[in-house]
Symmetry: C2
Amino acid sequence: EKANGKRKPPPVVHYKMNNVTSTADPVGNRETILILTPLARFYQEYWDNLLKLTYPHELITLAFMIPKNREGNAATLALQEQITKTQKTGPEKHRFASIIIERQDFEPPLSSQSEAERHKMENQKARRAAMSKARNSLLFTTLGPSTSWVLWLDSDIIETPATLIQDLAAHNKDIIVPNCFQRYTDSKSKDVKERAYDFNSWQDSDAARKLGEGMGPDDILLEGYAEMATYRTLMAYMYEEGADINTEVPLDGVGGTALLVKAEVHRDGAMFPPFPFYHLIETEGFARMAKRLGRAATGLPNYKVYHYNE
Amino acid sequence: EKANGKRKPPPVVHYKMNNVTSTADPVGNRETILILTPLARFYQEYWDNLLKLTYPHELITLAFMIPKNREGNAATLALQEQITKTQKTGPEKHRFASIIIERQDFEPPLSSQSEAERHKMENQKARRAAMSKARNSLLFTTLGPSTSWVLWLDSDIIETPATLIQDLAAHNKDIIVPNCFQRYTDSKSKDVKERAYDFNSWQDSDAARKLGEGMGPDDILLEGYAEMATYRTLMAYMYEEGADINTEVPLDGVGGTALLVKAEVHRDGAMFPPFPFYHLIETEGFARMAKRLGRAATGLPNYKVYHYNE
Ligand SMILES: Nc1nc2c(ncn2[C@@H]2O[C@H](COP(=O)(O)OP(=O)(O)O)[C@@H](O)[C@H]2O)c(=O)[nH]1
Ligand SMILES: Nc1nc2c(ncn2[C@@H]2O[C@H](COP(=O)(O)OP(=O)(O)O)[C@@H](O)[C@H]2O)c(=O)[nH]1
Ligand SMILES: [Mn+2]
Ligand SMILES: [Mn+2]
């Protein structure tokens, strides 16, 4: 409002969306990145890793969707503390262009957030439907007309190369996903080892297709469960020690722990189906939907990022 | 930037999405409306009708998606002229909260925009796929975390009751659609008469379901074509002179000429499939997708809005 109490004529904002690019040289072309994180638990290592990303922070917007429950309140407090530190008193180059925090209740799909409980097969459908809605809600309310790329990054991804964004974008793919691993301490030898974590990035199989055909329209295919042998080719197992980190493989399903998407793929309509879509939901359904939109997914089996170990 | 050239720590924006309501009393609850218009042609009557809407304009954001071609340039100029008049020199109460204009190229689906050419059956799939992408792009980039309602309003809707938004919202439905008619001059009597225009709002039939089952996965069902008898019950023909304007009917497909949607339905992921979804695309596919998300569509057969007549 003006001083005289009159409402100011509000601005008209024009966007020429054809001028928004997403290229192999996003830094050179000053392309904006939206990092989207559904966040139920806050990890300091996640934030520290985020700060180390060398992509110009003034081109990065962060947006979080946090459940409105006790766990979410604690996560919001911890996150807010780090944000204040970074944006107010941290080094200039650490500061991000803008930060959005959204709080929302969803039908609580599970009573416990433990890794064991989360991964039980009978819990997967409700859980991943709820996750899909959280992702869609975050996406639909933060994607802008001048966003070039969307980086999906789970809150428990605690270690990535500092050049993650540039490295993934350099492949100039519609959808690209690194290989998500997890470090753990071997109980016998006490050595720190690592193992594959995310089994949602895969190439389809005839067996899985046949399983799907025999299912009811509301049933979903799940990966990583012995009870449901899909014989899909999992990117998790394509990792080769010492091989080229830039090796590309085509994928039919993708995981969302770390996932770079050209913003126009989302703008055309690709979202995370909360309902069975070709018997797939959430990030796997997203890859299928993108394919229906003529957009392929690519995996980088030798390019690793690391998931927290509870 | 500050005067000393230092980048200001950017603000963190918090949204409590549970506090965003969409109720039967949107004026009383100060609910914000996003009016979305894909616009290929500008009609003065559309703008005049918009200005007459009695919903508080300070709660309304307008957003347009206009193709980046010659026709779109002309439409943008004409629109911009009216916007300037309304927002700068028009009566205070006419002014909208904010206005967004997005310009974008799509693969031009048709060489001509004439009503006859648009409605040819063989042109419908490509045309409506392109329209779906235009709608999704507009939706994904303008929907905010505090939007309560989305009103889809085609640029050739030139006459509605002034209380359109309040009247539709009063039904408190996830998705609600009035009956879209068209006035015309009878060639013999020269009387001004009216006829049904939009055939995309319908109740499904066994015949249509059977047609769908016999189709390939990429085929679509279309309404209003003699070549494809669906025997669906069309809202267009449910209109009863003098009957209650608040009569509700359940719908399986909806048209998008005028269409009110609770914002959370879109935020959950309901969009306009540019690909055949249960053999449906665009607004009809949207209704099907919403149903998959547990959200029903309602029609008001006796509540009329009017489409331009070329
Ligand atoms: N907004 C929101 N985020 C969630 C919810 N549950 C999990 N998350 C976040 O979503 C991401 C994936 O969930 P997670 O439990 O790590 O999945 P998993 O590693 O596949 O078992 C992580 O970033 C979580 O912090 C939820 O109910 N709401
Ligand atoms: N952005 C955009 N809008 C379009 C395009 N074609 C039509 N429109 C608009 O989309 C709406 C529906 O299109 P229209 O041609 O009127 O469809 P019909 O009345 O069903 O034949 C109208 O508001 C048009 O102005 C297009 O290619 N791009
Ligand atoms: Mn996780
Ligand atoms: Mn029209």
